[in-house]
């Protein structure tokens, strides 16, 4: 059957991760010898490694074998496709894809579908034909940061965005979410929105330049934490730590440390380990024949100094509890 192209942010056939158990019952152990393959975007970013940890921890808890492979670098689209194809030819029962781009894993998806192997698209780029997607709403990411500014800086002011690589889905959505929300408030002006290609160094340079031009800037929103930490250094070097709020995205451990230290104002954590667990659970439930909605939304939260300790826990049970309590 031909599925309509998926937009993970607006798909109506969706549910929240927290409802899984309530709607589909407790998780039943899968058949012995089940093998699940994960294809990651890159391991050079903590986010994707944590996702893999989530896969592994959930799988280990239920006796499932996992292989988690990544392309050699971010942007190696064909390399990732080769990996996915090689996994299919090795007879895995289910596959978890985090594609580099919206299209680069399409052939692998098609051959997996043809072979009857369920595929779950986990986060970031979205394969339009995919039957199942687990991940957060990218646009919401920027919206949360924008809302923070609207609430905490009621007088408004100049803000700037440090974008990820030009043309990448997540970068575009996050930027759009922030820009639309903050413009709608009417009090803020986005004075700069420029790419730094996910690089801490470029983010540093770009932020320095922007601060030079707009000494009265009050905030930065960076599309990921690495860039945000580069911005933090630029803000400190310009001596404007008091005046400029800096936000990142992802919630990597260094971002938590920087929030605790008061360097980084906040980050939007999308809880990669938990996301990994949920994705693995979805894949195994699909294997068990359950008919899940097309999108399972995973949590994200704006982490600031106020709530950092609540979410900093490495105990997943506690984290789940904290998120559910909200």
């Amino acid at each position: 059957q031909e599925l309509p192209p998926l937009n993970s942010d607006s798909e109506p056939d969706r549910m929240d991760w927290s409802e899984l158990e309530a709607k589909f019952g407790a998780f039943a152990a899968p058949a012995a010898g089940t093998k699940v393959g994960g294809v990651s975007k890159t391991l050079t970013n903590e986010y994707w490694r944590s996702l893999g940890e989530g896969y592994a921890s959930f799988a280990a808890a239920h006796g499932v074998e996992v292989v988690y492979q990544a392309a050699q670098s971010e942007g190696d689209q064909l390399g990732q496709l080769s990996i996915a194809e090689n996994l299919i030819s090795q007879g895995f029962n289910a596959l978890l894809f985090s594609p580099q781009t919206d299209a680069n894993l399409v052939p692998a998806l098609e051959s997996a579908t043809a072979a009857g192997i369920p595929v779950v698209n986990v986060n970031d780029a979205v394969i339009p034909q995919v039957a199942h997607y687990v991940g957060n709403v990218q646009k919401d990411n920027g919206v949360r940061v924008a809302n923070w500014f609207i609430e905490n800086r009621p007088e408004g002011g100049k803000v700037a965005i440090i974008e990820g690589q030009a043309g990448v889905f997540a970068a575009g959505q996050r930027t759009a979410g922030f820009t639309e929300t903050i413009n709608a408030s009417g009090k803020f002006e986005v004075v700069a929105s420029v790419p730094a290609d996910w690089s801490r160094e470029l983010a540093f340079n770009t932020a320095s330049t922007i601060l030079q031009q707009h000494p009265d800037l009050i905030g930065f929103y960076a599309n990921n934490d690495g860039m945000a930490l580069g911005v933090v250094e630029a803000v400190k070097a310009a001596g404007k730590a008091e005046q400029v709020a800096v936000f990142g995205t992802d919630g990597v451990s260094d971002a938590y440390a920087a929030i605790r230290a008061g360097d980084l104002t906040g980050t939007v954590d999308s809880f990669p380990v938990l996301t990994g667990e949920v994705a693995m659970e979805v894949a195994l439930r699909l294997l068990a024949g359950q008919d899940l909605p097309r999108v399972v939304a995973t949590p994200q939260a704006l982490i600031t100094k106020d709530n950092v300790e609540t979410y900093a826990t490495t105990d997943l049970k506690a984290l789940r509890a904290a998120l559910l309590a909200k």
Partner: protein
């Protein structure tokens, strides 16, 4: 005198064979190692898989080999591929007949190659820097045209062709085989091939001998652009979508394949057959490491080491080169 002639001929022949033999030896060694380490490696479907996965790089690398032989380099292949992919796809989606859209896409690649070549041949600029500029320029055009979003919904007939096979051999492999034979013929059997070698070997002497140096350089870049377009078409057929970000890092893979295959980046020397083997070496490497479930960082390590070792083996077996 005749004795000398008879004596002299074999060493040359054996030297040519020898040269490619080094590369083939490297390939055999890598395959042997993987065959021992993972049983899946040496199965027919997996070998076809490797060929299929190498075909896009091979397509690019063929054009790159001609450019390198003519003394240049083309860093802009990936973005050229992206640009012709998105424009070609847009046409198909808009209802332009597939064959026409394919021709148009290739024409776009040729046009980009022409621009590169013109700046190099007439403008007298260095190929590295021109195509580095092109790398940004063509990518930007592809992104601006699409607004950064992929183009989906390619016609089924087009996809059926690139995803089909003939007697079990995937069509992309066949297409690349045809292109490789053509490139071989051009390089070894036509005046243009002689001109590539002459211009790459000694541009001034070639000019004095009446070689149309400018046209020769232009042709090399135009062929490279065309090859990039073909690679793009194969890829979008397989993916079912054309993305403006497609083709990242293709240039490095293609150059690596050509160099492993014996092309000298100083120009004047290179082999189509060697380049193909180079592509297969890189493809086999990636395939084998994945089959063995080697973690990404160690894959990177292995890639680095194997490229260098392949070159050392090659060098040891093929004797002195520039």
């Amino acid at each position: 005198m005749n004795t000398t002639a008879r004596n002299a001929a074999p060493p040359l022949l054996s030297r040519i064979r020898f040269r490619d033999a080094g590369t083939v030896l490297g390939l055999i060694l890598i395959c042997a190692i993987f065959a021992v380490l993972t049983p899946t490696f040496l199965t027919v479907p997996n070998l076809l898989n490797i060929l299929q996965q190498s075909s896009i790089n091979a397509c690019i690398a063929l054009g790159m080999t001609l450019v390198i032989i003519s003394g240049g380099i083309d860093l802009s292949v990936g973005p050229v591929a992206a640009l012709s992919a998105v424009l070609g796809a847009a046409m198909m989606v808009a209802g332009v007949p597939v064959p026409l859209a394919i021709l148009a896409a290739i024409a776009i690649g040729v046009a980009c190659g022409f621009l590169n070549g013109a700046l190099i041949a007439w403008g007298g600029l260095q190929p590295f820097i021109v195509t580095l500029g092109g790398l940004s320029l063509y990518r930007a055009l592809a992104l601006i045209y699409t607004g950064g979003t992929p183009i989906f919904g390619l016609p089924a007939e087009f996809r059926a062709f690139t995803n089909g096979n003939m007697m079990g051999i995937p069509n992309p492999v066949l297409i690349v085989a045809v292109l490789a034979v053509s490139a071989w013929v051009v390089l070894n059997k036509t005046p243009l091939g002689e001109y590539f070698m002459a211009v790459g070997g000694n541009p001034e002497a070639a000019r004095v001998a009446g070689v149309p140096v400018t046209l020769t350089k232009l042709s090399a870049y135009m062929i490279s652009g065309a090859m990039a377009s073909v690679a793009a078409l194969i890829l979008i057929g397989r993916l079912g979508a054309a993305e403006p970000t497609l083709g990242t890092l293709w240039e490095l893979d293609a150059i690596a394949a050509a160099a492993i295959g014996g092309a000298s980046l100083m120009g004047g020397r290179g082999s189509i057959f060697g380049t193909l083997i180079g592509c297969i070496i890189l493809g086999a490497l990636r395939n084998g490491l994945t089959l063995m479930n080697v973690q990404a960082f160690y894959q990177l390590l292995a890639t680095g080491i194997i490229i260098i070792v392949a070159m050392l083996i090659d060098r040891a077996t093929s004797g002195k080169q520039g």
